[in-house]
Subunit: 335 residues, 2 copies
Amino acid sequence: MAGIRDIAKKAGVSISTVSYALNGSSKVTEETRAKIKHIAMELNYVPNLAGRTLKKQSTNIIAMYVADFGGDFYSHVIDGVDQVLRANHYELIVGAGGDKSRALIPQRFVDGAVILDQAFPDRLIKSFAKQGSKMVVMDRELSGTNVHKVLLDNTKGAEQAIRALVAAKVDYYVFISGPSDSYDSQIRLQTALASLSDKTDAPVVVIPSDFTIEGGRKAAKKISNAHLKNVGVFALNDELAIGLYEALPELGYTVGKDIKIIGFDNDLIGHYLTPQLTTIDYSKHKWGETAAQTLIDMIKDNGQASNHYIETKVIRRGSLGEETVNHDQDRLSHF
Amino acid sequence: MAGIRDIAKKAGVSISTVSYALNGSSKVTEETRAKIKHIAMELNYVPNLAGRTLKKQSTNIIAMYVADFGGDFYSHVIDGVDQVLRANHYELIVGAGGDKSRALIPQRFVDGAVILDQAFPDRLIKSFAKQGSKMVVMDRELSGTNVHKVLLDNTKGAEQAIRALVAAKVDYYVFISGPSDSYDSQIRLQTALASLSDKTDAPVVVIPSDFTIEGGRKAAKKISNAHLKNVGVFALNDELAIGLYEALPELGYTVGKDIKIIGFDNDLIGHYLTPQLTTIDYSKHKWGETAAQTLIDMIKDNGQASNHYIETKVIRRGSLGEETVNHDQDRLSHF
DNA sequence: TTGTAAGCGTTATCAA
DNA sequence: TTGATAACGCTTACAA
């Protein structure tokens, strides 16, 4: 492992000259710089990040934390984050969850963090912030010094979902929720309940679930057991809706006819279901971009940073019944 | 940012005592240790990783590089990697692609790397290996000092696919390939061609493509333009097959009837297509586990490390025609 | 233009 | 059992 000293020795100069030459300082002859660069190349020199970090107290690396890598979701968000960071000369690493990788933040191995992982405790975020680490959260109501939030506009999204569902003229309503500690689930459910009671007196059943396909299957059984017909379901995410699609046929329901479904997230799979799933869409990519930009603003400390909300819109497809479908917008809707 | 010196000062001891106390050395009274730990906690002390790394020359962090985070694929592989690393007290970070994050390897920011990204140049891997970095590759034929490979058994998988396709009794064969620089694609295509010519003299058309859904759509048009009927398609990955499913109906084809399709990868979406997609499956999770274990063996240098191949199997579903389907094994097949 | 030397936060050797 | 100190690889102020 060649270091700066090896280069210095071989070039017959001091280590500071090497450092200057390699870091593009103008204090050095183009001639010596050339010589030094040549030798560095020969020796396969790579600067040791630990040494540099120790001195500079910054790494230009940003960490992002996600709950998992599954499904057609995180990839777009991460991509958005990555793109903006790259344009600003930051490097992105993604934490695969777990306690130890979270420690990279206070350990100063990263200059900042983007958090989209409900399992990342509020307590830790607050404590890191107090110690001066900059963070952007995408999954909770939390902001203050060193923490900003960039959230999905769950409220608007849930309202749009309810409006679409009410327009489908059903007799009963069912809301299937996510885990109780999910911020998204809480807001969507709360808004949906309020919004529905504004519009109709029809009965609504809430089925607590967990945002998984399996949860959707179980919910289907509950709906069937309650003998509900002509029912409108707001599945608070698309995975639940997928589970419904899997279980409903054998329970004697036909999606789009005696059961109308709207989801949330515009998961790619919804496009392949029959009938296609009506859902609430938003730009995952832009969400990521905005989060990254906010973090950069915080780090550069130019006073630009602020909290943000990401817009939602309805993707109308067959699951609410044929009459409401609009096929045109479909193909491009995943981004 | 409290450091080890702050603690020492406050405790009225030397910094070395603090270091010993915090690192569980037996050279220190339980009493002083308790006192020091208490103060450390009070000051929100977190060891600075750069300082520690500089001294210890290892971080216990492993990097994994993937091409992207999309689809129902990487999550399982990453999960397998993560699980094994965690059990061995290593931390996983995932590189979102891009030049700079690759530099983390020679910079000794990480103790080793798992590479599943065709865009990561061979040249770099070899050069890093020469400088002493340990790596496991999952996407190419490359091994030697400091590099081992853990590969999918593409050969066996392709043979299985061809055997299944031939059994479906078609008149023509079409192979749709991935990008020409993809190792997986190369092996699958090469094996498929050899295997088919062993079994039949029926004509085979090779359509070069790119492993994307869009690529599959385009391939469908080519098949239609060639006026092929009763054709058996080996889509070298499932995304291509999905593209076929999207485009074929409007071209007058019915999957499972006049066109039989087999894919590769067992993507989750294949389960939701009509008819369900027959495909080649393998344990993505185990693949990741094996790669991680191999890397750990290399780092611990216990002579255990070796190259590995991951087994494949056929998931029979409707796309080869009804008679070959076996529904039982389906639900559990994603893992 | 180049060299000397201090210092970043930690660990580990040696002496007390 | 504890403390003083060198060392890790690099950057940078200051001296030459």
